[in-house]
Symmetry: C2
Subunit: 473 residues, 2 copies
């Protein structure tokens, strides 16, 4: 056996050792993180530089090959997984491009290769006494290029915004090999159309992100954490509003879990101490600021005291040590693994305006029960951003066919609620391959048509990650 002859030119560019064409070598890149989609590719190609990416793209254009860019392959929607058949493609794996280019503490920014692991970026910022705030479950293996391509969210978005808000400059290689150099470190720029934002969140369908200039922040000097319980979503939202009013941007995280979600975690991770195992809603609140005089702790205490007095919440416990705070976060971080252990998870990434959140949790749960009474409805997420993950956990033993049918029904029901309340079906996970049909159902045709126009402008042959987000044409 030997590699496909269409790979010869590409081998010359990146070196034969960086064109993985044997099945065993390709396999890890052909299946998505959840293990739900597996595709085909002629090879996995590992360029070492922007210049190599550019030349690979030009050569792929000559050979008529499609391109599937792939970062850490930790996405939730199979955006980085090649399709099962159709046109021949290569997976473009950026893991060799993992250099921190430079860090400017004065400018509060740093330039990185797209293949840098998120945790590596956080570390480099920290070594310069700065904070790169993006933080999410996969941070030990996801790559910053993938974070950009999917506009990643995570637990710090409430305070620092999503990935989109953290990108100052961008370097993108287009389908024909052209390098678009937008690598500025500028915080203000009014010289024509902003092109960064077309690529951020475009999931590799418009070009390959090869580098970025990222925003950094001063490191907070104090950080306090509390775990609270509330009887109703109205109470949770009241606590949030009060926290915003009294703490402003000190409010760093505001995460929520419903009783079913806590039960799911307790079953799988019994060693975690649950402060409020029976509360309808648990809230994890974190504040952080630059104070060194203990005033932050006092402010958090005052917030909780006032919220108790107003009847917004039932109970609360303040972390008395860093270990105690970590124990709170361990509950939050146990969500994915525990939910998966509880059954077949049909997850959602809905976001609705905060003023619709109360109706959303009621109507989404009712909608799931209507189509799948046997489902457990676990809810957790970034309520501060309006982004709740509603999970319908189906019995594991129902079998793949039932799972797929039920998943479609449940998602259609939840999406209908999301749309009715002015929301979007994906807040931070993206669309990828998994949710193309759901997006088509949720978004007006004219918006899809405009997206197709943007796609056609930048990738007229449709070779960039085809079949992801939407079906052009």
């Amino acid at each position: 056996m030997s590699p496909d002859p269409r790979l010869t030119g590409i081998s010359t560019i990146v070196g034969a050792g960086n064109v993985l064409w044997r099945d065993a070598d390709k396999a890890p890149s052909l299946t998505d993180w959840r293990g739900r989609y597996t595709g085909e590719a002629l090879a996995v190609v590992r360029p070492a530089s922007t210049d190599e990416v550019s030349r690979v793209m030009a050569e792929a254009a000559r050979q008529g090959l499609n391109i599937v860019p792939q970062g850490g392959n930790t996405g939730m929607c199979a955006a980085a997984t090649p399709l099962a058949a159709a046109q021949p493609c290569i997976v473009l794996k950026l893991d060799r491009m993992n250099r921190i280019r430079w860090v400017s503490p004065l400018g509060d920014c740093m330039a990185v290769d797209a293949g840098c692991i998120l945790h590596q970026v956080q570390q480099a910022a920290s070594e310069a006494n700065r904070l790169f705030p993006l933080s999410l479950g996969a941070e030990g293996s996801c790559q910053i290029g993938g974070n950009i391509a999917t506009n990643a969210g995570g637990t710090a978005a409430l305070r620092y915004g999503t990935m989109r808000d953290l990108v100052l400059g961008l370097e993108v290689v287009l389908a024909d090999g052209r390098v678009l150099d937008l690598m500025t470190a500028l915080r203000k720029n009014s010289t024509g159309y902003d092109m960064r934002h077309m690529f951020i969140g475009s999931e590799g369908t418009l070009g390959v992100v090869t580098g970025a200039v990222l925003k950094l922040f001063p490191q907070p000097r104090d950080r306090r954490t509390a775990f609270a319980s509330a009887a109703t979503m109205a109470g949770v939202l009241g606590l949030l509003a009060l926290a915003r009013e009294t703490c402003g941007d000190s409010l760093g995280a505001f995460e929520v879990l419903n009783r079913e979600q806590i039960a799911v975690i307790a079953a799988h991770r019994p060693e975690l101490r649950q402060p409020f195992p029976d509360a309808p809603w648990c809230v994890l609140v974190e504040v952080a600021d630059m104070s060194v005089d203990g005033s932050l702790g006092a402010r958090l205490e005052a917030l909780l005291a006032e919220a108790l007095e107003r009847g917004l919440m039932e109970d609360a416990t303040l972390a008395v040590s860093e270990a105690h705070a970590k124990a709170f976060w361990a509950i939050r971080h146990a969500v994915s693994e525990s939910s998966r252990a509880a059954g077949y998870v049909v997850s959602h990434d809905s976001v609705v305006p905060l003023f619709q959140q109360e109706r959303f949790v009621q109507e989404a749960e009712a909608a799931i029960r209507a189509v799948s009474p046997e489902a457990r409805v676990a809810i957790h997420g970034h309520i501060g951003d309006g982004n709740l993950h509603v999970l319908a956990i189906l019995p594991q033993d129902a079998g793949a066919e039932v799972h797929q049918r039920k998943a479609a029904e449940v998602s259609a029901a939840v999406d209908a609620v999301t749309a009715r309340l002015g929301g979007a079906i994906s807040a931070e996970h993206g669309i990828g391959h998994a949710h193309v049909a759901r997006l088509a159902a949720a978004v007006p045709k004219e918006r899809i048509a405009l997206m197709a126009g943007m796609k056609h402008m930048l990738d007229p042959e449709g070779r960039m990650n085809p079949g992801k987000i939407f079906r052009a044409g």
Copy 2:
């Protein structure tokens, strides 16, 4: 005399009284705020709703009329001024669309018509106990649609970002009359390409912004202001870095003025008390946060004490009252008017990375002196964002011809410095009609070509504000 027959359909849509076709009625909309450009238009058309804008645009398409959208007509670059000749156009004036659509204190957002005056938006936020942070000299007459179309900056950008960062949702009418409804109140959204950012900062060349959902913030509970002097730009930057590290996002404004700028202000406004009339650099620092215990004032004092001790600055004075703080700001706000009184102003809106700022002020001043030794070089601006306005003030009596020739030479010299240091020629004022040639010289051809591609996609007939930003070709 009677209106052009091509206006008949438009009159039917908006009412004859809202089609201003007489010279005297049109005049205020045909000249830019600085009085440097005057153009021609068949009429100034004043629609009352998004629907009317949509129908006017469709009718203008049928009649082959170009469209020049205009907000408060306070722009610095004649982006809203029609050109002198060429194709017949109408000015689309949005001042009748001035409704606050809704305010959500819980969601920290509000929806507005594009024709709302910025001050009106600030007021409506304030009445809901929230802050809409955009603030700039023209806030009493500029419109939010114009702020969006030009990605306005101002004095709060350091803390809250530019207009781009304050837009959650957008409503745009395209050249053919299609309404693009992106009016979401969502803070996270990963459902396909982001289209908002194409329009923000596109200066009316891609479509007409008719509405927006804006981000609101909690109102700070304490605010402290200081005025400091520094011997060098290195000292100013050191103070800035220290302020960021110790105050974090409490740092609300960090403005700078050089000695010549202070002298220009002192000559025109002798009644303003100048704390440091002879200092090479004056710095206006403002901090604000949610504290109510006086800790903010203590933190600002500690910052200044440490900066003095480290030799970053020479002297500082803390405002002891709101009136005192206002007196500091009065100096900053007197810049434009005082500079204009001092001579013919060739202004620049450069932004360079902070780590190049020291070289920038030296080299920009030297570059101006080389081509125009008689110029006074006054510098002021938002140093915290890297955005300094370098003014070359030429003798008023030299005459228009000399002014224009010198302006071109001076700007070319300053732009060359800006480009060499990785900067951009416009941080917040935009390009408009005034700086098309400068942008073409400063930006790589491929970027202009991509911009032309975006333009062609959304406005294939090139009828939206032609000749602004760049010449599509």
